[in-house]
């Protein structure tokens, strides 16, 4: 019997009787990170990194959750459980479960580069690795964050110079904070949508600090929007809320923006390629660095990535899950194949 099995409710460790990122209500859940598709409601008891807790509580209400530090090991019925940084969003973790000679790492979502907000990724050795593959195709290769942020700041400056408001769309937890932390505050005022404002507040409870922002309310003087940048979740596009910034230019930041088709389909003025998921090179590096002999590929271009790994002589297989990758960020389905 393998230490981890793939069940209808999610990844299950029978020996410790707990699930990792389950998608159906269970007794005990380990949570890799606070995104909605990995941290769902209805579990009796949660265990997550300390920094995930405020956002989880903000989203899921008053849950029973135990906080864990990175590197801290908890033993449940002989299974050693350790959280390691995954670099995806604040509090995101790869979860390692060890019993005797068998060691599993469930990576959740991850990226290798440092984003200036989340604790940077650390490679973890194991015999069994569960990896995502949201961008598991060789066409996805990210530019360094500094370059992307330079172009974002330049875009803001150009808009400001022509008296236009810049509306920047990004997922309210993770992407928004990453952009915020790397904006150049000397360019103008920074406003945020309520969803981001509340997430920032939750994160500040555990010590995260961001440049000064202001929550957009109905009372905010509209003149102040001219030349300012507004951070908003993708759902703001096409809403009545966004109209108050007229005249404005709107951009979105997502890994999907790497493709011309997606850029054009998304009804925005500009698409920046910025993702909190590993690109092709990172996925390959992460798999190699883990030293794992058995690779389980989840959400994304899982069939292609698993075939590629097999091609390289690794023991790889696809595991079907209910995770969504970066889909929710752009609010439309872009998966390779319907699962």
């Amino acid at each position: 019997m393998s230490l981890i099995t793939f069940t209808e409710s999610g990844f299950y460790c029978e020996k410790a009787d707990l699930y990792i990122d389950p998608w159906k209500p269970v007794k005990r859940a380990l949570i890799t990170h606070a995104h909605a598709d990995h941290s769902r409601s209805g579990m009796n008891h949660y265990m997550a990194h300390l920094h995930s807790i405020p956002v989880m509580k903000h989203r899921l209400g008053d849950i029973d959750v135990q906080g864990v530090e990175y590197g801290e090991t908890i033993c449940v019925n002989g299974v050693n459980i350790t959280f390691y940084p995954a670099g995806h969003v604040p509090g995101s973790a790869q979860i390692k479960l060890e019993h005797k000679s068998e060691s599993w790492v469930i990576m959740g979502d991850y990226k290798l580069g440092s984003d200036g907000v989340s604790t940077p990724f650390e490679p973890v050795k194991c015999s069994h690795l569960v990896t995502e593959s949201t961008f598991g195709l060789p066409i996805y290769n990210w530019e360094p964050q500094d370059e992307v942020m330079n172009t974002i700041n330049k875009w803001w400056a150009e808009n400001a110079a022509s008296g236009v408001t810049s509306v920047m769309l990004g997922y309210a937890f993770g992407k928004a904070q990453r952009i915020l932390a790397n904006l150049d505050p000397s360019l103008g005022e920074i406003f945020v949508h309520g969803a981001i404002y509340h997430t920032n507040n939750a994160l500040s409870e555990v010590g995260y600090k961001f440049p000064k922002t202001e929550y957009v309310t109905n009372e905010t003087d509209k003149k102040r929007f001219r030349g300012a940048i507004i951070l908003a979740p993708p759902s703001a596009l096409g809403s009545t809320w966004i109209r108050k910034f007229k005249p404005f230019k709107v951009a979105t930041a997502s890994g999907w923006m790497a493709l011309r088709g997606a850029r054009r389909r998304r009804n925005v003025d500009k698409g920046f390629v910025l993702s909190d998921h590993a690109d092709w090179t990172e996925l390959n590096k992460a798999v190699t660095d883990s030293g794992a002999e058995n690779i389980f590929v989840t959400h994304g271009y899982s069939n292609v990535f698993a075939s590629w790994l097999k091609n390289k002589g690794l023991n790889a297989e696809v595991v079907k899950t209910a995770f969504e990758g970066e889909l929710s960020e752009i609010g439309e389905s872009t998966t390779a194949e319907p699962e």
């Binding site: 195709l137 060789p138 493709l259 088709g261 590629w308 439309e332 389905s333 998966t335």
Partner: protein, 532 residues
């Protein structure tokens, strides 16, 4: 090519005409004459012959990236565009191209004389000298098809802003058979050259579909009303005794239509005729399929000439005895046209008939007969109108008959390309035949982006089987499919081929059982084929 790549990105990242115009003008203002002529040529669809097979590009790109070909193909399948896939898959170079657009185009041209090994060396070296965007543009220069929404009209506007020359003059200068590698910007664009290029056609004046009730157009007597024929819009030019034939796609098609050349040669004076080139036999038009046999191939055999002879149904005269008469009113041009045709009777030249009715209801009745006469409807041209350039509202309207339509069930779906590469947007439709659904048409246009997304979601959740890129889906969605023509076909299981099928609307109110039958299609075939 750095600047040209920047132009393409700018054009690509906006749907606003003014922003596109500004980007074009900027490029023209800064560019060298040599680059400018290429820019004009490439963006108006003048593309040199493909110097490399795309299959080779795939192989080379995969090998340069150290990836197996199947992985390249998987990526291509997701991206939906070969030029882009190659650009994305190659390892980053950290370089910007230092060669100009002109230099790159000449390089591509020179490849025709080289062997595969040399070509590979040149292409892969070029990739290493370029950024991602430049590579994409470079690959597009090889594979063709930018599709970035620059119309001929927009190019002309940009050139006009750049040079200060009137748009009408410029669009005339841009027409014709010029070859960018051998053309100087100043000669083509800046110098007036109507005398030096005898073959040059006039830009066509195009009609808009009638949007309102014809009653609002005033008395029908103010209008020249003619049938709208289902052929190819063309100009027959006779200047200095020489004859040239142009199609609306701005193609010189003289050698495809020997009958019309012969007709032109017998004209006793110089003239430029505007009309419909149409397959015509035994006193009646033939279907468009016949005409297609005349355009589709280079060599016109005797048999094709016999089966599908063509004629020109002339409806306008643009130049008469050496002078441009486009500014004259329609009715005056018509008098000249009648004069010309009456004194030059020829079997391949038909004067377009004017429909004279006192009331619009009378006109509508005649319009109702269009289909049985093999016409698409009517053309309404204001008698006082001059001959304008391009598609303009107000003086010329096309009043087509409603398309034929049938309710059909979506049974197969495929991903689209380019803009719709991750969406199932290309569909195959079927009608019922003895309890079975028989596919009869493919269509990918007619739905809004929102509807496509909705269908896409349905497809993804209702896949039955996969055949390569094709997915068969639960036969559940019903669409009204419109089409312009119907013909028998032995190549299709249904025995029927449609012309210009498209989705008119999504019949959410209909269940798949309520879709039409093959019998229904066959009865349409019987009705509309009787013109033959």
């Amino acid at each position: 090519m750095k600047k040209f790549a920047r132009l393409i990105s700018a054009l690509d990242s906006t749907t606003k005409t003014n922003a596109k115009l500004e980007a074009l003008v900027n490029y023209l203002d800064e560019g060298s004459d040599r680059d400018k002529i290429w820019c004009v040529a490439l963006l108006t669809g003048k593309r040199p012959k493909r110097p490399v097979k795309t299959a080779l590009l795939r192989t080379w790109a995969a090998e340069e990236a150290n990836l197996p070909l199947w992985l390249f193909e998987e990526s291509y399948y997701i991206v939906g565009d070969l030029a882009e896939t190659v650009a994305l898959i190659l390892p980053p170079s950290g370089q910007n191209d230092s060669k100009s657009l002109h230099e790159r185009m000449m390089q591509l041209k020179s490849l025709h004389q080289k062997d595969e090994k040399e070509v590979r060396h040149e292409i892969t070296r070029a990739w290493k000298e370029m950024s991602k965007v430049e590579r994409f543009v470079f690959n597009k220069l090889i594979t063709g098809g930018f599709r970035i929404g620059v119309s001929q009209k927009l190019m002309v506007r940009a050139l006009s802003k750049h040079t200060g020359i009137e748009e009408a003059k410029l669009s005339h200068r841009l027409m014709g058979n010029w070859v960018p590698a051998e053309t100087h910007f100043s000669e083509l664009i800046l110098e007036s050259s109507s005398t030096e290029n005898l073959s040059r056609p006039y830009p066509f004046y195009l009609a808009y579909p009638l949007e309102s009730d014809p009653e609002e157009l005033g008395s029908p007597e103010k209008w020249q009303i003619e049938f709208k024929w289902d052929g190819i819009r063309g100009q027959v030019i006779k200047r200095d005794g020489k004859v040239y034939i142009w199609s609306r796609g701005e193609e010189l098609v003289t050698d495809r239509f020997p009958e019309l050349v012969e007709m032109g040669q017998t004209l006793d004076r110089d003239a430029v005729l505007d009309g419909e080139i149409i397959a015509y036999k035994d006193g009646a038009p033939l279907t468009f399929n016949h005409l297609q046999t005349r355009i589709g191939r280079k060599r016109i055999t005797k048999k094709i000439l016999e089966n599908s002879p063509v004629k020109l149904i002339a409806y306008d005269l643009l130049e008469y005895e050496g002078s441009d008469i486009r500014q004259e009113p329609m009715e005056k041009r018509r008098i000249f046209l009648e004069q010309l045709i009456n004194s030059n009777p020829h079997d391949a030249l038909i004067l377009s008939e004017c429909i004279k009715e006192k009331s619009w209801s009378g006109v509508a009745k005649i319009r109702g007969k269009s289909r049985s006469l093999m016409a698409e409807g009517l053309m309404l041209k204001r008698k006082s109108s001059e001959y304008k350039v391009g598609r303009k509202r107000g003086d010329w309207w096309k009043w087509k008959v409603d398309p034929m339509a049938i309710d059909a069930v979506l049974i197969y779906a495929m991903r689209g390309h380019g803009r719709r590469a991750n969406l199932y947007s290309d569909y195959t439709f079927a009608v019922w035949d003895k309890g079975e659904l028989i596919p009869f048409a493919k269509a990918y246009s007619g739905l809004t982006d929102k509807e496509i997304k909705e269908v896409d979601r349905f497809v993804k959740q209702n896949i039955l089987e996969k055949f390569g890129p094709v997915r068969s889906v639960e036969p559940h969605l019903v669409f009204e499919i419109g089409f312009e023509g119907i013909a028998p076909s032995t190549r299709h299981k249904s025995g029927i081929a449609l012309r210009f099928p498209r989705m008119l609307r999504w019949r959410k109110d209909k269940s798949p059982q309520e879709a039409n039958t093959l019998e229904h299609l066959q009865s349409m075939l019987d009705v509309y084929q009787d013109g033959n």
